[in-house]
Amino acid sequence: MLKLFKYDLNIQLRSGYWTVYGVIATIYILILVNLPVNIRDEVAIAFIFTDTSVLGLVFVGALVLLEKQQGVLQSLSVTPVKLNYYLFSKVFSLTLLSAVISSLLWIIPQWSINGYFILLSGVVLSSIVFTMFGIGFSAGAGSFNQFLARVFAGSMIFSLPVIPVFFYQKAEWLVFLPANAAIDLFIRITKGSFSSFQLLDLIVLIIWIYIMTIFAQKQFRRNNLFL
């Protein structure tokens, strides 16, 4: 497991994910630092929610598809590596990336760690949920464009219910969806108070991790990728 994790991390470093996100984080931070202080954390949340916490969703597809086409998966399936090890090594390596970048985006512009730990747990959990979701889609896709199309269609289901949250105050029942739970969690951080609702959001995200893991496993088994 640890070796797989190192290998994944290495590939991501070499193909420039970390470099690219370093550049993007720098731009975001430059934007944030130039904003007025009172809207800074809201904008930071917007960046974190729309970009860094869901980056795994798309990026994992390229990783899995390349390994699939190069036949790495077949080779892996005759080694003692279990499917879950493979999945979680991918998920954790990408989650590490999103956690690091999100931390930079949150801590540097504000220069304080107010609400940082709740934010971090939200980022980590939602990143795991969405990366798992991406893995599930990549198993069935033949080409990368096909994967992208499916992911966009699939993530539409989760991202459309986010819109009402901004317009109506009484949209709290929607938090059973992962994206809503995450945005709810993040918005509450900007309001500055810790509430039991945030705990509920975290629990919802954990349940979604479980659902998505089963989804990814099923997809892998159905496509005979990893026996």
């Binding site: 420039g16 470099t19 690219v20 993007i24 390229a62 390349l66 086409q69 464009n145 992208l148 317009f167």
Partner: protein
């Protein structure tokens, strides 16, 4: 001869596209952008105005220009990923020994997304009208400038990336060219100098400026950057494939 070759490989590509849902999606994307700009944007701006008294409406031009800039990127990206998929499956080596050859193949791959994005950009501009003061000639001019961006994206991703993992990282990196549009329009002297690298920055200025002469100069600068990069990337790609 060359015309027929290009036409034939275009036909093969159409078949590929019909089976490729992502390209169909990227045809839908402009419609979604139109919906977003025409329906959601006014709603959002009303909402924010009531809540905070902040007028987003005055930023309509900037957000619309940024969104229009996304369209050529989508087409370029889709074609780049087709290329990378083929590269990973070693189809390009096969094509290079057919009469079509690698060069014509690449020309076709650059012309088609440019045409597609030209049509879609023109369509989107007519429907959303980001810069209300400009006439139809400017719209046409900008569409041409924008359409040339999609071969740029195609070669940017296709020639620099070795496989699709790197391709994805590069397509993310292309975001800095996009970010240059709103930042370039908002920031003042001397900060906007940092945006000079992006052809999209020059296009956006060519779009909003009221003087036709200035607009032509800006357009020329953006074309110089774009074609220079296209030439470099094209050569790099051929060299990489040969070596």
């Amino acid at each position: 001869m060359i015309g027929r070759i290009i036409f034939n490989s275009f036909k093969a590509d159409i078949k590929f596209i019909a089976r490729d849902p992502m390209l169909l999606m990227s045809f839908l994307a402009p419609f979604m952008l139109i919906l977003l700009l025409r329906l959601v944007f006014p709603l959002l701006s009303d909402f924010v105005f009531v809540k905070t008294g902040f007028q987003i409406n005055s930023y309509y031009t900037i957000s619309a220009i940024t969104m229009v800039s996304v369209i050529p990127m989508l087409f370029g990206m889709v074609y780049a990923f087709i290329l990378l998929d083929e590269n990973d499956m070693h189809i390009l080596q096969v094509i290079s020994v057919t009469p079509a050859g690698k060069r014509n193949f690449l020309y076709m791959r650059m012309i088609v997304p440019a045409l597609l994005s030209f049509i879609m950009v023109l369509f989107t501009i007519v429907l959303t009208n980001p810069v209300p003061t400009e006439g139809w000639l400017r719209t046409f001019y900008i569409s041409v400038l924008m359409a040339v961006q999609s071969p740029f994206v195609f070669l940017f991703i296709g020639s620099l990336a070795g496989n699709k993992i790197e391709g994805l990282a590069l397509s993310k990196l292309y975001g800095i060219f996009l970010v240059a549009v709103p930042l370039g329009l908002l920031l003042h002297h001397p900060w906007n100098y940092f945006m000079f690298f992006s052809p999209l920055y020059w296009i956006s200025w060519a779009w909003v400026t009221s003087l036709p002469g200035e607009s032509l100069v800006y357009g020329a600068i953006s074309m110089m950057i774009t074609f220079g990069c296209i030439l470099i990337f094209f050569r790099h790609f051929l060299k990489k494939q040969a070596g």
